[in-house]
Symmetry: C2
Subunit: 230 residues, 2 copies
């Protein structure tokens, strides 16, 4: 399948690697191709520059946000939360229309220091903002509650954990669910929360997530919902 990934950071890279392994054709989109390729040295997380990564992942194509959105039959929003709407506007409403957009981004605001706060509050979510801005796009929020490495490799953890789906379109959620199972998520562990407004729940899990990261001293953890036996 042709898949366009918006965003060239660690999340986009990790998802791109997995998709290529699974045999998909992947184009990543960025604001300015030349600028993205011109970066040298390690990034903020101590990872090699994107151009280095691209050399080792030569099956991945690089284009603008618009190129990647136009290329993909299915799209992944792996931009930073604060940049998501701008990136999607550059991708172009027409290129996004009628397509499934898997939104893995989080509305994190790092401008007030660590831990980050959220740019949304109570009666809204980034998932809904994207869906409202692009009503013809089938937005499905998922994977935003785990670290990039777990998104594509949930078996890193010693026991099964849960992942959530939020979205208005059942067929789009079914398509994302298929993608998630190909990443290693067991179908029984994927919880369909309901329409896109339920992204308020899965995005507001981030304030405890970022603090657990500090407490546990690792980002490689996830939530398992344990329910009473009836």
């Amino acid at each position: 399948m042709k898949i366009g990934i918006l965003g060239t950071g660690v999340v986009g890279q990790t998802i791109a690697e997995k998709l290529v392994q699974l045999g998909h054709n992947v184009m990543m989109g960025t604001r300015d191709k030349n600028e993205t390729l011109a970066k040298t040295g390690k990034d903020n997380f101590g990872r090699p520059a994107f151009s280095e990564w691209l050399k080792n992942n030569s099956k991945v194509q690089l284009g603008t946000f618009s190129d990647a959105a136009s290329f993909g039959e299915l799209l992944v929003n792996a931009t930073s939360g604060v940049g998501a709407l701008d990136a999607l506007k550059l991708a172009g409403e027409k290129n996004l229309a009628e397509k499934v957009l898997l939104d893995v981004s989080n509305p994190l605001d790092f401008s007030k220091g660590m831990p980050p706060t959220l740019t949304v509050c109570n009666t809204d979510s980034l998932g809904e903002q994207i869906q409202r801005t692009f009503p013809k796009t089938k937005v499905v929020k998922s994977l935003n509650t785990v670290n990039a490495y777990l998104m594509t490799n949930p078996k890193l953890l010693p026991e099964p954990t849960n992942i959530f789906l939020n979205g208005n379109d059942s067929n789009a959620k079914a398509e994302v669910k298929k993608l998630l199972t190909s990443f290693g998520w067991d179908e029984k562990d994927i919880i369909d929360m309901g329409d896109i407004s339920t992204a308020r729940g899965t995005e507001q899990i981030l304030p405890i997530w970022v603090r657990l990261w500090g407490t546990l001293q690792t980002p490689i953890f996830n939530f398992k919902i344990v329910v009473e036996k009836k």
Copy 2:
């Protein structure tokens, strides 16, 4: 130990029952004793009126917020989140001073319909509001992430799950931890998140909690944090 519980709803009742079972002396506090005792018929949750419950739990004393706060060597805030600060003001700053206050309440706002939203957002929490309003009180937030029945009986679930502590005072957290282990929580499953500002994380888990309640069709569930093995 003499324990004062502020609030006479299902959360206060469930905690009172457990504390009595464990041999503690319990006084529950309410705004207006006569009004609380005069209620008849079932409450909003289909439970018997408080006076009925009290007949079956005759070791529990009933007083005003101020009586209960004065009585207790350790206090539990089991009021509704929106009523918490008012109830605590009625309890009296002097009666709360130097005491451990276990705050199990959540800043839920039901005024905009279901599911409820939160009265706090990003840069504050109810736990911090209480701590700021009563600086001499040792506020420890805990148990707010589970249903009342699980608070005092975590073994209802088929496997161990996690519970969190937020608070500025280490000794106060140690005291609450002891209480939690007497309720059935294993020490290894109690996660000390840090100072009271970390209540932002545990309170903001509620938006997913209330939606999972709908999805799972039961409030008897909890989060287990699964961490990578190193």
